[in-house]
Amino acid sequence: MKIDISESGDVRVLAFEGNLDTSTSPEAETRINELIDGGASKLLINFTQLNFIASSGLRVLLATAKKLGPAGGTLGICGLNPTVQEVFDISGFGTILNVFETEDEALSAF
């Protein structure tokens, strides 16, 4: 699991590589929380290089969205491969999170 963090305007872009699962979710949550605690309110998570996401990864996304929402922040997610897309569809996360096809599309929506 690798997380590459960059900035695009006032949006922090987190590019995930590998799996977001039981082993890697705690680290991902720590990194995200560091950003939020540091004042970031617009986060875009790019899953283009993500292999799969498990329910522990969904839990991190849900916690992040819950944290940003009341503070007026936004969480965007883009670049879902078919397997990740299927998980989003089954779990209903595709409808409760802001999901975009590409990073450009996502950035223009912030």
């Binding site: 039981t22 082993s23 929402g69």
Partner: protein, 538 residues
């Protein structure tokens, strides 16, 4: 039989009319006495209406008493009529001659009336007892013939419980099998069985019930039925044998038992697990003639003691290998001098045996045993079951991976890495590999986080198998009995703030696989998941 009770008929034969009168005087009150004054006349009377007893003088003109007696005894119709010699001769040699001819008794003249009466009465009573015994024997023989008939029917029924049509699975190209059972008596205690569990696995059984005859056959029928029932929905030989042993032991007043070898074999991969309960160890006959004796034992005979936990072992057949199972009727077959056929002879035969198919193999072994026995009476049932692995699968596209890890969250990453390597090597579609990783992560996480009061010291077994049509994942832990698929589906229509995560992982697993199974086997939770490798999963 007549309604009126008639007096018994006594025929007195004497050439002296006075003697006949004496006899008549003594016996007429209780018997109908007929008289003959010579041998020829006596034979004529007997031929017309056989009397119940004959008093026979020896010294007579014409036919002597000896000759008359000889003729009577030679004729089946008259030989059972008791003959008492009644004569003045006193030498013991004459007496012996009379008995030698089949006489019932010997009375010397002059006749003592109470003695004559008593002897006649005794011999008539003896004759009656003999008649009754013979009638009883007739009935017994009739009954015995009927029992024999029923035993023959029993044998037919017993054999019909065993699958006997070969080839048994003409559509299966993955394997070839053949079995034969040669009973020592009409009904015996040996049995074999084989049946498909699903599209991948076959269950193979060989057993030998203690004892012979009807009790053994009945116990065999019960055992076989229980095994077949237990094997449905139970993938573990150890679990099947453990459960059947409990059932057999619980109600076994006659203390019969059965030795058993049971294997469950994946005919695509050749992998099999087996449990041996006090049975002869089978052999793997390799394609090159090499021989492996499966001498792992997993417990005592079944039916002896309740509550025993049986174990199991694993093995693998390559293409061209055969699994050879048998009962001790093979190795304990005796020749006319009482020598045993023995393991060494069997092993030697198997090393050079015709491996072109299962039938030539079983035939070769039975032929060898029969030639060895040289017509000596078969002392025990002979049962042979041979399974030959034909194709271990389409080259390169089938494989399996087995892993065992400590129940520790930190070990999951290692499993996912190896599973990914397996997916790459088996050339599974990318999406299927991703799903497999996700599913394993969910299952292991659930098991380790919630399955144990304290996971330390526990292990989890993971089995992954892929063939050209499907991917199968099996995760087995010894945690608290729990079927995750009975959980309620979480409400996925709720908004972010209402969301709880619990149960989501199980739901993802359920939705992303084509088949889910849960079994509690030998103290383990066993979850089996299948993903079909069709267009939808490319």
């Amino acid at each position: 039989m007549t309604e009126i009770k008639q007096k018994p008929v006594v025929l007195a034969v004497d050439d002296t009319p006075e003697n006949l009168d004496v006899v008549k005087g003594i016996l007429a009150r209780d018997y109908t006495v007929k008289a003959a004054i010579n041998g020829q006349m006596a034979l004529k009377i007997v031929e017309k209406a056989p009397p119940d007893l004959i008093l026979l003088d020896i010294m007579m003109p014409g036919l002597s008493g000896y000759e008359v007696c000889e003729q009577l005894k030679a004729n089946p119709a008259t030989r059972d009529i008791p003959v008492i010699f009644l004569t003045a001769m006193e030498q013991t040699t004459d007496e012996a001659k009379g008995f030698g001819l089949g006489a019932a008794d010997y009375i010397t003249k002059p006749v003592n009336p109470p003695i004559l009466e008593a002897r006649v009465k005794t011999h008539l009573a003896l004759k009656q007892s003999m008649d009754e015994l013979q009638a009883a024997f007739g009935i017994i023989k009739q009954q015995k013939d009927r029992m024999q008939e029923e035993l023959n029917v029993g044998h037919t029924i017993q054999m019909s419980m065993l699958p006997q049509a070969f080839p048994a699975f003409p559509d299966r190209t993955e394997f070839d099998l053949h079995a034969l059972l040669k009973p020592a008596r009409e009904v015996g205690g040996d049995f074999y069985d084989f049946f498909l569990l699903d599209d991948d696995r076959i269950c193979l059984v060989v057993g030998d019930v203690s004892g012979k005859g009807v009790p053994a056959a009945l116990f065999m029928a019960v055992s076989q039925t229980m095994i077949k029932t237990a094997a449905k929905g139970d993938a573990s030989p150890a679990s099947i044998v453990t459960r059947v042993n409990d059932a057999l032991s619980a109600d076994n007043p006659t203390s019969m038992f059965v030795t058993l070898f049971l294997a469950i074999l994946d005919f695509h991969s050749g992998c099999f697990s087996y449990c041996n309960a006090g049975h002869n160890p089978p052999y793997i006959v390799h394609a090159d003639g090499g021989l492996i004796c499966l001498n792992q034992r997993h417990g005592v005979v079944m039916g002896a003691m309740e509550g025993l936990a049986y174990g199991e072992s694993e093995g693998k057949l390559q293409e061209g290998d055969a699994l050879f199972m048998f009962t001790d009727g093979v190795t304990e077959a005796m020749d006319t001098e009482g020598q045993l056929y023995g393991e060494a002879r069997l092993e030697q035969l198997l090393e050079g045996v015709d491996r072109s198919g299962a039938k030539p193999l079983t035939g070769a072994v039975l032929g060898s045993v029969e030639r060895f026995a040289q017509g000596a009476e078969q002392s025990d049932d002979i049962t042979i079951l041979a399974y030959c692995a034909r194709q271990s699968g389409e080259a390169g596209s089938r494989d399996s991976l087995d892993l065992t890890i400590d129940a520790d969250l930190a070990r999951i990453a290692e499993v996912l890495e190896k599973a990914q390597a397996f997916a790459d090597q088996a050339k599974l579609p990318t999406g299927v590999g991703q799903k497999m990783g996700m599913i394993l992560d969910e299952l292991l996480n659930n098991s380790i986080s919630y399955g144990f009061e304290d996971p330390s010291g526990h292990e989890i077994d993971i089995h992954i198998h892929a063939d050209s049509s499907r991917l199968t994942l099996k995760v087995s832990d010894e945690g608290i009995p729990f079927n995750p698929f009975t959980l309620n589906r979480p409400d996925t229509s709720l908004s972010i703030n209402e969301r709880e995560i619990g149960g989501l992982g199980v739901m993802l697993v359920k939705e992303m696989t084509d088949k889910q199974g849960y079994e509690r086997l030998s103290g383990h939770n066993v979850i089996t998941l299948t993903i079909e490798l069709n267009q939808n999963n490319q």
